[in-house]
C-alpha cells in the first residue's frame, strides 16, 4: 500500500470508537480492510510506532494511536518506544 493507507487505518482506529474496539479485540480482522501489506499490518498490530515514524506516518497518528489504545498514563512507554527514531518531520 503506502504511508497514506497506514494513515487511513490509524485515523479510523483513533477517531472511530467502533473501529478502535474491534482493533483491540481483533486487529488482523480490522487491518485486512485497508489493503495493507503484511508488514504494514504487523507494524500497526504490533504498535510499532517507531517503524511507523520511520516510514513517514504522521506523529499525530502514532501518538494518537498510543494514547487511544494504551492511555495517557503510558506516555513514558511511548517515548521509550520511539527513542531510537530519527524522525523530525511533521
Amino acid at each position: 500500500m503506502s504511508v497514506h493507507g497506514i494513515e487511513l487505518a490509524l485515523y479510523d482506529i483513533t477517531t472511530k470508537s467502533s473501529v478502535r474496539k474491534r482493533f483491540v479485540a481483533e486487529p488482523t480482522e480490522v487491518l485486512e480492510r485497508y489493503g495493507l501489506s503484511r508488514d504494514e499490518q504487523e507494524m500497526i498490530g504490533g504498535m510499532n510506532v517507531s517503524s511507523m515514524l520511520d516510514v513517514g506516518v504522521s506523529p499525530m497518528l502514532t501518538f494518537g494511536l498510543w494514547m487511544c489504545v494504551r492511555g495517557p498514563q503510558d506516555l513514558p512507554e511511548y517515548l521509550n518506544a520511539i527513542s531510537g527514531c530519527a524522525r523530525e518531520a511533521v
Binding site: 494513515e7 487511513l8 485515523y11 504522521s58 494518537g64 523530525e88
Partner: protein, 272 residues
C-alpha cells in the same frame, strides 16, 4: 457595523487537564480565567477561534487548508477532565458572511455545516468564554498539524480577510479573535517533552512588538528544529494577528513541566 474589539493568543495543551504527573497547573488555568474576564469586559458577542487540527477532525481523505464552521457547533470531541462537552452556541450568519467575503477575495474556505470541534477550539470555548452562551463561537481550522500545511503568509492574510468581513457585516457584533496554538512542542516525536524557552521568547517578543513579519519569515525547517512540529501552530497566532493587527501583551508564559508545551497567553490590541 460589527467590530473586532479584542484578540487573544493561547495554548491548548490537553495535558494541562489530564495532568498525568499531578503538577500544579494553577498559573496556567488562571491565564485562561484572565482571558475569560477580558472577554467579559470587552462585552464580546462572538469569538472567532482559530484552531489546528491534529488528525482528529480531518482525515487522509480530505485535508483542508482552511475551514470554517458555518452551522451547528459542538465539542470538544476529545474528552478532557474539567472541560465541558456538548453543544456550542454558533453564529452561522456571521460565519457564512466571513466565508462569502473570503471566497470573493480568493480565500477558498472549506465549509463545515456541522462540526464537532477538537480541543484546540474546545478548550478556548470552555475555559475562556462565558459558560452562559452569551458569546457565540465561530470555529476556524488552519492546517498546521498535518501536511500539507498552510503557508504562514497565507494564514496572516486570511486574518485580514476575516477582519474585513467582520467590519462589513451589517450587525452590532462585538467580535474577539482567538489564535489557539502552542509555542515549542514536539508532538509524537522523540524530542517530545522538550520545551525551548528561547524559541518561545522569540515568538512572544514578536507578538509584543506587533511584528508578524518576524514570524512569517521563519522557515518551517527553522521552526521544526527549534520549536518542533507543534510550533507550526504559529499559523494560528498569525491569523489572529492578521485580524487584530495591534501589538500584544503577554498575560502568562509557563514552560509547564506537567506537560510537553511551552504555554503562552497574550492579549492583542486592536489597531485600525
Amino acid at each position: 457595523m460589527a467590530n473586532v474589539v479584542g484578540g487573544f493568543l493561547m495554548s491548548h495543551d490537553p495535558l494541562v487537564f489530564i495532568n498525568p504527573r499531578k503538577v500544579d497547573s494553577s498559573v496556567v488555568l488562571a491565564a485562561y480565567d484572565t482571558i475569560l474576564e477580558r472577554v467579559r469586559q470587552l462585552d464580546a458577542t462572538t469569538a472567532v477561534i482559530i484552531g489546528a487540527d491534529h488528525y482528529i477532525l480531518f482525515g487522509p481523505n480530505c485535508l483542508p487548508q482552511m475551514a470554517i464552521g458555518i452551522g451547528d457547533v459542538q465539542g470538544p470531541i476529545d474528552p478532557l477532565p474539567g472541560v465541558e462537552r456538548g453543544g456550542i452556541k454558533g453564529n452561522p450568519s456571521l460565519a457564512q458572511h466571513i466565508m462569502r467575503v473570503g471566497h470573493e477575495e480568493g480565500f477558498d474556505w472549506a465549509a463545515a455545516k456541522s462540526i464537532n470541534v477538537d480541543h484546540s477550539v474546545g478548550i478556548p470555548v470552555r475555559r475562556s468564554l462565558p459558560s452562559d452562551g452569551s458569546v457565540a463561537t465561530i470555529p476556524v481550522y488552519l492546517a498546521a498539524g498535518v501536511q500539507p500545511l498552510i503557508r504562514t503568509q497565507r494564514a496572516y492574510d486570511l486574518g485580514g480577510s476575516i477582519r474585513r468581513a467582520i467590519e462589513a457585516y451589517p450587525g452590532d457584533e462585538r467580535v474577539v479573535v482567538i489564535g489557539s496554538g502552542g509555542l515549542s512542542h514536539w508532538v509524537g516525536l522523540p524530542q517530545m517533552g522538550r520545551i525551548n524557552k528561547a524559541f518561545d521568547k522569540l515568538i512572544l517578543d514578536a507578538v509584543e512588538r506587533g511584528e508578524p513579519e518576524a514570524l512569517i519569515n521563519l522557515t518551517d525547517d527553522y521552526i521544526l528544529e527549534h520549536g518542533g512540529n507543534g510550533a507550526m501552530e504559529i499559523r494560528q497566532l498569525l491569523c489572529a494577528m492578521g485580524a487584530v493587527r495591534g501589538a500584544g501583551k503577554v498575560i502568562a508564559y509557563e514552560p509547564w513541566d506537567g506537560g510537553v508545551t511551552g504555554l503562552g497567553f497574550a492579549e492583542l490590541c486592536v489597531a485600525s
